[in-house]
Amino acid sequence: MTMYAALGALEQGLVYGIMVVGVYLTFRILDFPDLTVDGSLPLGAAISAVAITGGVAPYGALLLAAAGGFLAGVVTAVLNTKFKILHLLASILTMIALYSINIRIMSGPNIALIGSATVFDPLIGVGVPGHLAGLVVYALFAVAVVGALIWFLKTAFGQTLLATGDNPQMITSLGVNTHLVIIVGVGLSNALVALSGALVAQNQGAADVGMGIGTIIAGLASVIIGETIFGASTVVRAVIAALLGSVLYRFAIALALSIDFRGFSFSPSDLNLITALLVIGALVAPQLREKVRRR
């Protein structure tokens, strides 16, 4: 792997890490498998692209994107809690609806942002090279998001959120409105995913309606890899592990792209297989370790 590709993997790992932390929030904390993310990631990209080309400042565009993502999550959660649609199905419905909505928002499938104002401009303006500006901005955002989420989960509402995922019956018997908790939780998760999408679009130079495909796979893979390697004994540890899992996941892809061993190299079409093997490996490794320890 070249140095440049490694920096790229780190950059991608951090920016998608914001999405992964969102997936962790629903998948692990709320026990809510949420496929909305395949639609809310491009939703964030679409909103920020339209906002920027419409003259909104890049950081303002991020806020709008996050708000849009929050709404998308709320729709999924309301379908689930108020209308009793199975969470998986509710999220799939929102996801496919978002495909059409994203095309509406962009008045087409793709908006180019190459040459537009971006959140990286202030850094580039003070002389940071372009390929490092993305890394710095993404790192700042990733750290800020992880920090904010850890703080949030320690508030009273955050504690209720944790308890809702653990034992909804108990929490309901305490007189807490679990519906509201789930709605806010799934909304927040998708706000993070959309924020990630908006940041990705500004860096890759385009928002594309197809860019969300595989988001949930990358998200789950990263959460699981992170848990396996860095552990998840406490919530703080688990959130940080999710972010680091995202970085490792992108490194694994970069490695697969660059392996060239005596003429053997992975065919491009092997990438999906490698992803699957990686996740299976991360899921199986702890069980194997447990078995060896028992002997």
Binding site: T2, G8, A9, I103, P109, I114, H131, G205, L271
Partner: protein
């Protein structure tokens, strides 16, 4: 005259140095499907036939934008002599990686199979590409396409168009086609499919609502072409395509977008860049050659035998 001889001499010298290679060419291809694969093959064949020794590092994003971006960054690090990006999303990702790359890693970039490089933000204008970026556009010669279909089916009133509304290329094609059709008194009937699994239902929705179906160079539809052809055969609804690979697979006819030729044209530009020409000196090119391909067997199955005048013009007939 002397100057001409001098230029010719330099030209031969440049071609002569072509064998000095091997050059390293890094490729960012968006997805594997016959048309895009043909572009790559055309590029490789062109260089080989002109004795340009080149090693290729081919990356494929598996239709994943995130992977395309990572590939762009990977390619910058590979320090290739030339970067090639096949299809719009890959081109955008690679251009962006290139713009951010440090000076010593800057390399010329050639995009190909991109319909509208200006709207995609790759170049400022067709005749004024950037310092490092130029390429070949596959903007369809739609007037010729429509003319061929109307020669084939003079009674045609409603033309079905099957495409993925999520593909920028196809959306642009549709808008242009609608304008042209209107001038010719033809109504466009749209059907869209968001993914390959939806294609079958989409083409079925066109049965009875149109007299023929036209498929633009749409990645989703072309990937699932067989299901379209099946419906066309069952309902005697002729299926026309924009690319000739689809005719080989069983579409009735296409007015010559040959992605293999597109690749060869990209190869000709690649040779110029490898020989030292700056991309900024090479305007964005369009596909030059158009050929009529007809599949007689498919035409028979879909109840649309071609008129003799088109058979006479055809560059290739499948029997």
């Amino acid at each position: 005259m002397k100057r001409l001889a001098l230029v010719a001499g330099i030209w031969f010298l440049l071609i002569g140095t072509g064998v000095a290679g091997p050059y390293l060419i890094s490729v960012n291809q968006f997805v594997e499907h016959p048309a895009l694969d043909a572009v790559l093959r055309g590029l490789q064949d062109d260089l080989q036939e002109h004795d340009v020794a080149a090693d290729f590092k081919v990356h494929n994003a598996q239709a994943n934008m995130g992977t395309a971006v990572q590939i762009g960054q990977q390619m910058i690090g590979e320090r290739a002599d030339l970067l090639v990006a096949i299809a719009t999303p890959s081109a955008q990702a690679t251009v962006q990686a290139l713009r951010k790359a440090p000076k010593d890693l800057q390399r010329p970039l050639l995009f190909t199979a991109v319909t509208d490089p200006v709207a995609a933000g790759l170049v400022a204008a067709f005749d004024r590409p950037g310092d490092q970026v130029t390429g070949v556009s596959d903007l369809l010669p739609l007037a010729e396409h429509l003319q061929m279909i109307l020669t084939y089916r003079p009674q045609l009133k409603r033309l079905g168009v099957l495409y993925n509304a999520g593909e920028a290329n196809s959306k642009a094609t549709l808008v242009a086609l609608q304008r042209l059709a209107e001038q010719n008194g033809v109504t466009i009937v749209e059907a869209t499919a968001a993914k390959t699994a939806d294609v079958h239902a989409a083409v079925k929705s066109l049965v009875g609502r149109c007299d023929a179906v036209f498929i633009p160079t749409d990645n989703t539809i072309v990937s699932a072409l067989e299901s379209v052809l099946k419906v066309g055969g069952e309902n005697r609804l002729p299926i026309f395509a924009a690319d000739v690979d689809s005719v080989a697979r069983g579409a009735v006819a296409a007015m010559g977008f040959d992605y293999y030729q597109h690749g060869r044209q990209t190869g000709a530009m690649a040779r110029k860049i490898l020989a030292g020409t700056k991309p900024s000196a090479l305007p964005v090119e369009y596909q030059q050659e158009l050929q009529l391909h007809i599949n007689l067997k498919a035409a028979e199955a879909m109840g649309a035998p071609p008129p003799q005048q088109l058979i006479d013009r055809a560059a290739k007939l499948y029997r």
